[in-house]
């Protein structure tokens, strides 16, 4: 008899907990975690470097997106999992113009205002086997023209004036990715530690 009432209570508690976790389960079902391509999912400028800390701090209010002049900030949806509703920038669609507005408006510490040179969204990486000027002496230079950091971010290789070379000042805003005319996008943003700037040339 005692065991029976204990079981009944146990079932009751489990049922109540299940009912309480119903909304969370539903929201999780709607946003299962998938592997997001890091090339198309950059954090906005000023984001905490540790992505786990960023997800802890971001409340998903969407203010960063709501002040973004080029509307480049998007939000994780179904692919998000835990990151759902946190912001990202897809440079293949739109790059960041480094206007600082999102960092100023962010109510939490997740986007902290840092000077332009200290922004670290990543660093551009150029595939020299696909970029027009590098492959067949084409004339392009779109990435170097658009770069908001100018000579500090991306420049031309000496004597091969249209061959773009990423320099150490690059903050990874992704504007070069946005404007790159090559269909296979031979330029993309990687994490700073994985960039090959130093290997090719001292920036």
């Amino acid at each position: 008899m005692k065991r029976r009432s204990f079981l009944q209570q146990f079932v009751y508690v489990v049922a109540v907990l299940a009912a309480g976790s119903l909304p969370f389960g539903l929201s999780r079902l709607l946003a299962p975690a998938a592997k997001a391509d890091p090339r198309t999912h950059l954090r906005p400028p000023g984001a905490l470097k540790d992505d786990a800390a960023f997800v802890e701090a971001c409340i998903g209010c969407g203010l960063c997106g709501e002040v973004c002049p080029p509307r480049c900030i998007q939000f994780y949806q179904r692919e998000g999992g835990n990151k759902v509703n946190t912001p990202y920038i897809n440079p293949e669609k739109k790059g960041c113009i480094l206007c600082n507005k999102c960092m100023e408006v962010c109510p939490t510490e997740s986007l902290t205002l840092v000077p332009r040179e200290k922004i670290d969204m990543g660093i551009a990486q150029i595939d020299r086997t696909a970029c027009y000027p590098w492959v067949d002496h084409g004339i392009c230079g779109a990435c170097a023209v658009i770069c908001p950091l100018g000579e500090r971010g991306i420049g031309f290789d000496f004597a091969n004036i249209y061959r773009p070379v990423v320099k150490k000042g690059c903050v990874g805003c992704g504007l070069c990715v946005e404007v790159c005319p090559h269909p296979s996008l031979p330029i993309w943003i990687v994490e700073r530690s994985q960039g090959t700037v130093a290997k090719h040339r001292i920036g």
Partner: protein, 340 residues
């Protein structure tokens, strides 16, 4: 102010209209702000000629409605930004208390500049209880329309759900949400809190070209309200409502039934969205001071009072049948006493 107020202030009757105005205004702003943002992006791009014809129409429309108020739309329209979850209001950053609680739980530390943005809402909640739920919440706007839809469905002969669950369930949702936030390191409450979901999804739909996953969640909550319990999500599951109920436990602004004017018609019980029992002085922590019962009362028996606790049951209304019968009995007893 516990003077015997036998008449409610005449304005209390009309507060419900003001409440609908405020709720509509908040909802309207949630639609307008993303549109203003899209307009701002067009302005800052300086490329009117490159817009498609429909975008140009949109640009012209927004220019027409904003031109009287701002000269520099690119920057001046930043004055009001965000949603009820978190936003800036003429330089003042305001956040939902639940957002602050969720962030503290997720990161397990206090980041004061953010927690303090919830200070003003918390102060208001301490005084007015769950006023947010009744007066500002953009989801409430849709849920109350959903209730009306339920009434129509019932009139059409369809059955809608009207189950009663335990209102304490929402505290479990809140605690579970905070625990899950702490464990998973992400603010899971943000995804299950309807006002946050609504504000965000409207923004996604207007500025980013489509609803996100939250829209599905919100539709499910609407169905839950229709099929399981009227306003069920707010009453039984909403973690924000749970937090405000706790904060508003000792709210000084309350609704009181004036027993002398009450005739037991129970219209207040019928109109109460949260299924409370104003007729028996049972408001509790759930009452969101929405004043619908004051507006509907035909005998002016509902009013606001300044009091830290609800009145205990004051007995049947003095204009009602039960009270008269009681009085009659008492009278006869008194008479018989006198005779004896």
């Amino acid at each position: 102010m516990s003077v015997q107020a036998n008449k409610p202030l005449f304005i209390w009757r009309h507060l419900n209209k003001l409440r609908w105005l405020v709720m509509s205004l908040v909802f309207f702003m949630l639609i307008l702000l993303p549109m203003l943002h899209v307009y701002q992006t067009y302005v800052s791009a300086h490329a009117y000629d490159l817009l498609s014809p429909s975008e140009q129409n949109f640009y012209d429309f927004m220019e027409t409605i904003t031109a009287p108020f701002v000269s520099d739309p690119e920057n001046e329209l930043d004055a009001i930004k965000g949603t009820t979850w978190s936003g800036t209001f003429f330089g003042l950053k305001l956040s939902d208390p639940l957002a602050a609680a969720g962030q503290v739980a997720a990161s397990l530390k206090f980041y004061w500049p953010f927690v303090l943005t919830a200070l003003i809402p918390v102060a208001f909640t301490l005084v007015f209880g769950r006023f947010f739920c009744g007066w500002l919440c953009p989801a409430t706007f849709l849920y109350e329309l959903n209730t009306t839809l339920g009434v129509w469905l019932r009139k059409a002969g369809l059955r809608t759900g009207n189950r009663r669950l335990d209102p304490r369930l929402k505290y479990i949702v809140l605690v579970l949400g905070l625990l899950l936030s702490a464990v998973s390191g992400s603010i899971v409450l943000a995804a299950v809190y309807p006002p946050a979901v609504v504000g965000r999804e409207i923004y996604y739909a207007i500025a980013l070209g489509g609803f996100g996953v939250g829209a599905v969640f919100f539709v499910v909550t609407l169905l839950f309200d229709l099929l399981v319990a009227r306003r069920g999500f707010c009453r039984y599951l909403c973690p924000g409502g749970a937090l405000y109920s706790l904060l508003g436990r000792f709210r000084p602004i309350r609704i009181k039934r004036i027993v002398e004017n009450c005739n037991d018609c129970a219209k207040c019980n019928a109109v109460c969205e949260f299924g409370l029992d104003p007729l028996r002085d049972n408001f509790g922590m759930e009452c969101n001071n929405c004043s619908a019962c004051i507006a509907v009362c035909p005998t002016d028996a509902m009013t606001f009072v300044v009091r830290m606790q609800d009145f205990p049951y004051q007995g049947p209304g003095h204009l009602g049948r039960h009270y008269r019968r009681q009085q009659g009995k008492k009278q006869t007893i008194d008479d018989s006493d006198e005779k004896a």
